[in-house]
Amino acid sequence: MAALPAKLGVVVTAPLVLLARAVDPPLRWWQRMAGQGGMAAVFLLPNLAIFGVFVLFPLALNFVYSTTAGTDILLQGRSFVGGAQYARLLECRDYLDPLTCREDTFWTAAANTLVFVVLQVTMMVVVSTITALILNREIRARGFFRAVFFFPVLLSPVVVGLIWRWILQRQGLLNLVMVSLGLEPEVWLNDRTYAFAATIGVSVWAHMGFYTLILLAGLQAIPKDLYEAAEMDGTRPARVFWRITLPLLGPNLAVVLVLALIRGVQIFDEVYVLTGGGPGTSTLYLTQYIYEVGFASVLRNPGLAAAASILMGLVLVVLTLCQLWLSRRGEAKGAK
């Protein structure tokens, strides 16, 4: 019996072995030419090329677009305007009131995004922490529940949006259930507050599985001994949570916070399918604003969209740096 898997292994790895033998001589020749330090660059080059073509180049191109004006999508048909697009975006009489700004929808979208991110990230962290704590306990069918909570992460955001639209629309599942229970139906997605809450709830539902997984890994990395030591000392469960679990989960919570923040600012697909930014502009977030200004509106303005996306990118960079600084400080404190 034992001989079969061994033979199978040889068969399976044979193509790889042949491939390795084939590329070995040219790589050796290369190393003689480039030296050992140069080889590192050689191996990095393919990935770097992909990264350059699909990330760095568009980033630079985007910046160039943000300094041009016109409706033409091709660069040669556009005129250079310098920082005019940025000035247009930032021109406001009163920064606390979006309606006094020249690009009032940009500021509305920014304000919406801010409120959305604060509420959504808070909810995300709390809900995924609680879920992870429950899934970390010795409950029945734990594997099943872990899979269930992770499942939405595997769905395409568009599918998520469609599912919830089907539930929340005027003649959707939720209203159907409410009517059958003798309750008045609600126009969930046409009410400003409900629609806003729905975008938060749906995005939390769709992504919490991922964060739960990160936190679950963190919880499982906490040695059981610590809990037993606390048990011997008669530590109450609440105190165990606040004084032992939470501090030791800190690094994982920091990761969850950064990722949730970044993805929160970038929210687009689910919301676009679910509410389309409505009713009115009540669920219009920055990414959708950029998309509509740049591509979807009749008088498309790629320059303005590019400028807005650069501004949004700056916010993300600042957020990330803050979080990196926070987590580094936390680590330094732990190691001191």
């Binding site: 040695p223 001994d225 037993e228 030591a229 048990e231 011997m232 008669g234 732990g334």
Partner: protein, 351 residues
């Protein structure tokens, strides 16, 4: 304070019973060591006493009070874990006081106990450090300190020295012995290291497969092992064991040396390596060719093989100058022969 009684303790995990009815009485102030090979149930037994696990049946009493269903915190015991289980995000001071603060103890009293334990264990300069900034030995002290501040009825120590290097282990072993002398609190100590067991224990409990094989003082265990398992487990190098069949009140060792046996039938003759000495020239003896010489300086461990292929170990004092391939002839001390019957139990003999 600190008398612990186990009555017919059984523990089952699923369908597997791992502790098969253990009865044990640990006296006040006694240092009892649980020793046995991996998987013998010694740690499980300690966790049952601690209250971290519940026995399937049987009762546990502390000072006459049945604590079988009492929570771990309310048993008045303190445990030192193999991994130390120090809270990594707290300073040494916080680690020491954390358990006391649970009980809403007055701040002054917490401070007094922490500083007293710190002084006793000489960790006062470390109070503001975190566990990651401590060496293994320092962490070990903090872990013991965390147990001391609780002023428990008994200490439970689960292989507390196994994460230390050999040199530190010897030092900490001596310190633990001194600590026990000073505190005079009951201690139950789990280890797989028989040297730790022999040097620390008032009494040793030898466990195998979830059963107690023997409970005795260290020297009793060495001098009068109750069965083959204990005989083989205690003492280094291991006892030489020879299977034989007794006839007419005598059994023969390889080489023809006759040993008086009280009962006829199959038996095992045990002779410790330390109890073999050069034989008289004309007497019958264990004779063999030397296969390995381990010179340790103060003593020399010699492995040899008899003509019928039995491997025998002997320990000789000093440096006798024996070489590989030499032929040696040895005879046992007549008073130091252990006899075991076919079931492996000790046969009392008056050889």
């Amino acid at each position: 304070m600190g008398r612990i009684t186990l009555n017919d303790i059984r523990k089952r995990f699923g369908t597997t019973e791992v502790i098969h009815g253990v009865d044990l009485e640990v006296g006040e102030g006694e240092l009892v060591v649980f020793v046995g090979p991996s998987g013998c149930g010694k740690s499980t037994l300690l966790r049952l006493i601690a209250g971290l696990d519940q026995p399937t049946s049987g009762t546990i009493e502390i000072d006459g009070r049945d604590v079988t269903r009492v929570s771990a915190a309310d048993r008045g015991l303190a445990m030192v874990f193999q991994s130390y289980a120090l809270y990594p995000h707290m300073t040494v001071q916080q680690n020491l006081s954390f358990g006391l603060q649970n009980t809403k103890m007055a701040r002054d009293e917490v401070g007094r106990r922490v500083s007293e334990a710190a002084r006793m264990l000489e960790i006062e300069p470390l109070l503001e450090r975190r566990p990651t900034q401590l060496s293994g030995g320092q962490r070990q002290r903090v872990a013991i300190g965390r147990a001391i501040v609780r002023e428990p009825a008994a200490f439970l120590l689960d292989e507390p020295l196994s994460n230390l290097d050999a040199e530190l282990r010897v030092t900490m072993r001596a310190e633990l012995a001194q600590l026990h002398d000073r505190l005079t609190t009951t201690m139950i100590y789990v280890t797989h290291d028989q040297v730790e067991a022999m040097t620390l224990a008032d009494r040793i409990v030898v466990l195998r497969h979830g059963r107690i094989e023997q409970v005795a003082t260290p020297l009793d265990l060495f001098n009068r092992p109750a069965n083959l398992f204990v005989a083989g487990f205690i003492g280094a190098p291991n006892m030489n064991l020879f299977t034989a069949t007794a006839q007419d009140g005598q059994a023969a060792l390889p080489g023809g040396l006759a040993v008086p046996v009280p009962r006829n039938g199959p038996c095992t003759i045990g002779i410790r390596p330390q109890h073999l000495h050069p034989a008289e020239a004309d007497a019958s003896a264990l004779e063999g060719r030397v296969t390995l010489v381990e010179a340790l300086g103060t003593e020399t461990v010699v492995h040899f093989r008899t003509a019928d292929g039995t491997d025998v170990i002997t320990v000789m004092a000093g440096q006798p100058g024996i070489r590989l391939g030499d032929t040696i002839r040895l005879a046992p001390d007549p008073g130091q022969i252990h006899l075991f019957d076919a079931d492996g139990d000790r046969m009392d003999n008056n050889v």
